[in-house]
């Protein structure tokens, strides 16, 4: 399937699933319309986990195979993961205010560990900008990406490990998947949003990976250009200009 076609499929799927979750499914008996936020909160959290898992595995792939395509995959999934983690926290706040009475609760382990996850991977993206050397950048990013991923199980199991105002996972065990504690229409709405968001995630991942590949080619062209200019200057007898440490070579 062409990437552009996948983009249109993702758009149609997200629009259809959104319409179903906003007007097709009845409001919850206890939470009312506020419960509809769950249909975007849960998929966002799932994609945040998935993205950072891919970042960690891609980092390991780079350290093992020394193929920079793994690093392109790692940066693509980290950037998209940061976006979905921010969406998770935002949707949680929009649900929490009408249901819990607060936007944010500092002493809730799930919310705090998710905030830490967002901070860790924002730092990961900043770290990547600290050097122009693709090898050094990939090495550092692989280590940090793997260490940061250790927070993913802490986020997921925080509601089981510590006392929390968060409810436990809806699909946390096989028994719950087969016999969910929610009516079928609610489960179908949630699963259709999970599917639609995952298709959109695949599309965004492909596009971001393609962008990373293009940026690598630009860096390579810039290095070749700098080398050619230095060679021409040396032949003409012009003193070579050596870039200072940390200065971008463009």
């Amino acid at each position: 399937m062409r990437t552009r076609t996948l983009g249109w499929v993702a758009l149609v799927a997200v629009v259809a699933a959104t319409l179903n979750s906003l007007v097709g499914v009845p409001a919850d008996l206890n939470q009312g319309d506020a419960q509809r936020v769950m249909y975007i909160h849960v998929p966002s959290a799932w994609l945040a986990y998935l993205s950072f898992g891919v970042t960690a595995l891609a980092g390991i792939g780079w350290l093992w195979k020394r193929d920079l395509r793994f690093d392109w995959l790692a940066v693509a999934s980290a950037e998209i993961g940061v976006m979905f983690t921010a969406f998770t926290l935002l949707a949680g706040a929009m649900w929490g205010r009408p249901v819990w009475g607060v936007f944010y609760q500092w002493d809730d382990p799930r919310i705090l560990s998710t905030t830490i996850l967002l901070t860790l991977y924002s730092g990961y993206l900043l770290l990547r900008r600290m050097t122009d050397d693709p090898i050094r950048r990939a090495n550092r990013a692989a280590v940090v990406g793997f260490i940061a991923a250790l927070d993913i199980p802490i986020v997921h199991f925080s509601v089981e490990w510590w006392r929390s105002i968060h409810q436990v996972a809806t699909f946390g065990s096989p028994a719950r998947i087969l016999h969910p504690a929610a009516p079928g229409a609610f489960v179908i709405a949630l699963l259709s949003m999970l599917g639609a968001f995952t298709i959109a995630w695949i599309y965004l991942m492909i596009r971001r990976y393609q962008l990373a590949a293009l940026e690598a080619r630009i860096d390579e062209a810039a290095r070749r250009g700098t080398l050619a200019a230095a060679r021409a200057a040396a032949e003409a007898g012009v003193p070579e200009v050596v870039p200072r440490a940390g200065e971008a070579i463009r």
Binding site: V37, I40, F87, R97, P98, V99, L204, R207, A221, R224
Partner: protein, 46 residues
């Protein structure tokens, strides 16, 4: 408390954010392709 503004706000920001990110990627790719073309056209044949 009426939850609808919170529901509509959450959907608007998240769906708008995803669409905005897709457009941003498309624009960054177009800019990158332009930069590559410029680099190729000014490249030393050696």
């Amino acid at each position: 408390m009426n939850p609808l503004p919170f529901v509509v706000g959450a959907y608007a920001v998240i769906l708008g954010g995803m669409a905005g990110y897709a457009v941003l990627l498309w624009r960054r790719m177009a800019a990158a392709r332009r930069a590559l073309r410029d680099a190729d056209s000014t490249r030393d044949p050696e």
